[in-house]
């Protein structure tokens, strides 16, 4: 009903939105109200809170929930029209404002806790695992406002000067935003700036700050408290949209403080002093590089994206990282101990004892695996049929080159030089660059170093280049496209590369090349650099190979001409896939689209490599796709000369190569390309687990005679870990589940202190027997009810029926019924002796 009261009209309504009047409906309401001059006030009758509905923040602060009765009061010259418009909106449109927000297609799914933790009731957060490993340290939360004591103190001169300071701050921030708007930025940025301007003029925001200043607080403290106040309010409904508004408010409050206090106010500088887990909404590469790496144990980000540059860096540094962890920056308290599981995407606050024990054992297992892999690092990666595959390392700094070569890299497959440019306030000089490139070349000691000239612009802007913001940065002014404008800068880089080529093998390539013209232009620039150096009598290798990245699909269709002009190519699968599928790789909702195992993308790669190799030129792959050993059969089948990846995966890639059969891989890729979907390719890969690997059934690497496993969970996990360390399985969790599936039928505790868990699965590359002798007997629900001291895991490879050791397994099973045999096994305390004893006993069956 409407009531005419003097100059005002009132209208009463019930909120029918199940999530209440949260940010989105409130913003629509504000939009409607702002079309009119009249004052529009809403009173929530439940809590008697009044709100100016022209202010989104104010409306949200009224906390209108489903079923709340509200009174809308409109007062002013155009009240009749305003009320009519608002009434119609509230009755007709408002209920429709509450459609659930579209969920991200690929939101991180809630993972199941690993066995051993599932029953402990520990709390955890989760996201997408993007950089492997386990990290443990104190939470360091980036980007949260906090005040030092000086600014928190009560002002000595009372509220008046504080109000003045605040007003000055507001004016300055508004002026700055308006100035930016006046430059006519493109769509996205305009939208954000306008939203910021709306928040700055939000009545409630100003009132909340003023209220606190009047109560005697400093402007700084009032701003921080207000920011916290809105954060708490906006957090309540938990939608992503609302969280974004909270971030906006916080960002503007920070700017306000910077305006008011100038350089004195700084968000707390992040200096790591102990083992730390970095927690932030987003992370820029330079923020990551500024941190002391020796204390950085893990990264937890709220934003998603498996290939953002900070994530790529984290991976190359071997720092475990989990992204897309909703609400992490708020859920984790600075200083609290946190464990990050970069394999499963789990994040554990507080670190309770069961979590610590679980992950201590995980780390020990990872150490053992690393030790087992180290022997593969320094050997060439050669397939079973003698095909050599070079394994390179992707780096961003010369120090990473050393680490990569120590891990067995056959060369640097990609030196991302842009970080050199991002680290400085001005472009690095020719000499500075030369020193860095020379460092990498010396570390290589004869192994080639592929330098990629700076891929700047787009998503990697540089303050000193003054590049305009763009609507579509990935499709914009970046890579080779900016070189003509920044001609001297690129000239210096090319000369630095040429000078490094006098020390050892340097290959030089350009990013983002989309046409033959660009490739020819780049070649011309190299010639120009050579001429300049020659004129100065500076040494360089006149035969330094020149190539391009293949990341823009257009060049894939001009390879004949390009091969005639260039020496080599490197396929950047990250950008190539996002351009090929037209799907932004930073957008978590699109991760499912740009699948590098999709048959269309594999066909593209196959065509590219076939064309290049038929011209006798060299082609490598330097995208994230190369870092996963599971892609290796596909990539080897396609016929790349080289795969380049983060240093820490090189040994695993080399070991995986040594098991491949080139012929099988070539058949595999042909079948993969014929597949209809990426899922079919995955299934094909799974089935093609390299069969018939000549691995012995028994090995000391599969024996541990001093296990401190304290229960069945731990013992099975330890055995599975030994198989993993020995490279007999790739995935631990499914293997564990396969063993447990058998235990579910009935316990494999056979009495007399022995248990023989077993399974037949295609997860294991080769038949394997793992043996564990326990320091402390553990419960296994055995046939005789006695605890178990010796656990023998029999893993039968399902994909390898011909080379089956089943006869040995059956003979071993029979032998275990023999008391004397069991007694002898219990006595022997040397792995080698144990294996040879068992071998002798089973001789007639081997």
């Amino acid at each position: 009903m409407s009531v005419e009261a003097a100059q005002a009209i009132e209208f009463e309504f019930e909120c029918k939105l199940s999530n209440g009047l949260h940010a989105r409906p409130a913003s629509h309401l504000a939009e409607t109200a702002n079309r009119f001059a009249s004052a529009c006030e809403l009173t929530n009758r439940r809590n008697q809170t009044r709100a100016d509905i022209k202010s989104v923040l104010s409306t949200i602060a009224a906390d209108v929930r489903e079923g709340d009765i509200c009174t809308l009061r409109v007062e002013g010259p155009d009240r009749a029209a305003a009320m009519a418009g608002l009434r119609r909106f509230i009755i007709e449109d408002l209920p429709a404002c509450d459609e659930p927000l579209a969920e991200a297609a690929l939101e991180s799914k809630a993972p199941t806790l690993p066995r051993g933790l599932a029953d402990t009731g520990v709390t955890y957060l989760y996201g997408i695992a993007v950089s492997r490993g386990i990290g443990r340290g104190a939470a360091v939360v980036l980007g949260r406002m906090s005040l030092n004591a000086d600014f928190a103190a009560e002002p000595v001169d009372g509220p008046a000067p504080e109000r003045e300071r605040l007003a000055r701050g507001f004016r300055a921030v508004e002026a700055r935003i308006e100035e930016l708007l006046a430059r006519n930025p493109l769509g996205t940025e305009t939208g954000i700036l306008k939203a910021h301007l709306a928040i700055m003029s939000d009545v409630t925001l100003r009132e909340e700050i003023a209220k606190r200043i009047d109560a005697g607080r400093s402007a700084a403290r009032a701003v921080v408290e207000t920011s916290e106040h809105f954060r708490a309010l906006l957090q309540r409904t938990g939608s992503a949209y609302i969280r974004e508004r909270a971030v906006d408010v916080e960002e503007l409050c920070t700017e306000l403080l910077e305006e008011i206090y100038g350089s004195e106010f700084r968000p707390p500088s992040v200096e790591l002093r102990e083992a730390s887990i970095l927690v932030a909404e987003t992370l820029a590469p330079h923020q990551l590089l500024a941190l002391d790496r020796k204390f950085l144990e893990g990264i937890v980000l709220e934003s998603a994206g498996a290939t953002s540059h900070a994530v790529i860096l984290a991976r190359s540094m071997g720092i475990p990282a989990v992204v897309g962890v909703a609400g992490a920056a708020r859920a984790l308290t600075p200083g609290e101990p946190v464990i990050v599981d970069g394999d499963s995407g789990l994040v554990f606050p507080h670190c309770p004892p069961p979590v610590i024990r679980f992950y201590d054992r995980e780390r020990a297992a990872a150490q053992r695996r690393k030790a087992a892999l180290s022997k593969f690092a320094q050997a060439h990666a050669i397939t079973l049929d003698g095909q050599r595959l070079e394994i390179g390392v992707n780096i961003s700094t010369a120090a990473e080159a050393e680490a990569g070569f120590a891990n067995g890299a056959d060369g640097v497959g990609l030196f991302r030089t842009e970080l050199l440019f991002a680290e400085h306030k001005t472009a690095p000089t020719e000499n500075e660059q030369f020193e860095v490139y020379a460092g990498a070349v010396r570390a290589g000691n004869g192994r080639p170093v592929i330098l990629r000239t700076a891929d700047i612009g787009g998503d990697k802007p540089l303050p000193y280049l003054n590049l305009p913001a763009e609507r579509n940065p990935f499709l914009g002014y970046r890579g080779i496209r900016i070189y003509a404008e920044y001609h001297e800068m690129i000239g210096a880089q090319i000369r630095a590369a040429l000078r490094a080529s006098a020390i050892g093998p340097v290959w030089l390539m350009a990013p983002m090349v989309a046409s033959l013209e660009e490739a020819l232009w780049f070649k011309g620039e190299v010639t120009r650099g050579q001429n300049a150096l020659r004129a100065q009598s500076v040494a360089f290798n006149s035969k330094m190979p020149v190539g391009i990245m293949i990341e823009v699909p257009s060049v894939a269709f001009q390879l004949k001409r390009l091969c005639a002009e260039l020496d080599f190519f490197s396929v950047g699968t990250n950008d190539l896939s996002q351009y090929f599928y037209a799907a932004d790789r930073e957008n978590a909702k699109l991760l499912g689209i740009s699948n590098v195992r999709g048959p269309a993308f594999l066909a593209l790669l196959k065509n590219i490599v076939s064309e290049i190799r038929s011209s006798g030129k060299w082609v490598g792959l330097c995208g994230e796709m190369g870092g996963d050993p599971r892609n290796l059969p596909l990539l080897a089948g396609i016929g790349f000369d080289e795969i380049s990846a983060s240093g820490n995966v090189i040994p695993a890639l080399k070991r995986a190569t040594a098991r491949l059969n080139g012929v099988t891989c070539r058949e595999l890729i042909e079948r993969a390309i014929q597949c209809g979907t990426a899922a079919e390719v995955e299934a094909l890969l799974q089935a093609a687990v390299p069969a018939a690997v000549a691995e012995p059934l028994f090995s000391t690497s599969l024996v541990a005679l001093d296990s401190d496993s304290q229960n069945k969970d731990e013992a099975i996990r330890e055995l599975v870990d030994t198989l993993h360390a020995a490279g007999r399985i790739e995935d631990r969790r499914p293997m564990e589940e396969a063993v447990w599936a058998r235990e579910a039928v009935y316990s494999t505790g056979l009495g007399h202190g022995f248990a023989i868990p077993h399974c037949k699965t295609d997860l294991v590359h080769a038949d394997s027997i793992g043996i564990l002798k326990l320091k402390q007997p553990i419960e296994w629900v055995s046939l005789d009810g006695a605890p178990v001291s010796m656990v023998i895991l029999l893993a039968l490879s399902d994909s390898n029926p011909k080379g089956s050791h089943m006869k040995v397994f059956s003979r071993l099973a029979r032998k275990l019924m023999n008391e004397e045999f069991r007694g002898r096994l219990m006595e022997i305390n040397d792995p080698g002796e144990l294996i040879s004893h068992v071998g002798r006993e089973l001789e007639d069956s081997i």
Binding site: R742, V745, Y746, T748, L750, G751, I756, H758, C759, K760, L783, D784, L794, L796, S804, M806, K807, F809, S810, R811, A813, R814, K815, L816, M817, N818
Partner: protein, 99 residues
């Protein structure tokens, strides 16, 4: 006494053979003649012939799954036990034939 037996467990990797071993060992110790057919991951081994079965005073199925060719044992005194029981108490299982 002449006994025939068939052992068969779900995965056919271990318990099939452990049960066979237990039955063979125990029967011999008790002075019986026994022949055990295993139906495991290697398929059927030590297969019982019709003759074996005809001559036996009793048959034991120590099996968690269906025994292949169970029709062969028609007319023979048959004891069915889970595999585990044959491993844990082979003597008791053999005694069931006599009882």
């Amino acid at each position: 006494m002449k006994i025939v037996a068939v052992t068969a467990c779900a995965t056919g990797i271990a318990h099939t053979y452990m049960a066979a071993e237990q039955l063979e060992k125990t029967a011999k110790a008790l002075g019986h003649q026994i022949k055990v057919e295993t139906q495991g991951a290697m398929g059927i081994e030590n297969e019982l012939s019709d003759n074996d079965i005809r001559q036996a005073q009793g048959a034991i199925f120590a099996a968690d799954i269906e025994v292949e060719g169970s029709e062969r044992f028609e007319g023979v005194k048959l004891v069915r036990v889970p595999v585990q029981e044959a491993i844990k108490d082979p003597k008791g299982v053999i005694a069931k034939i006599q009882g």
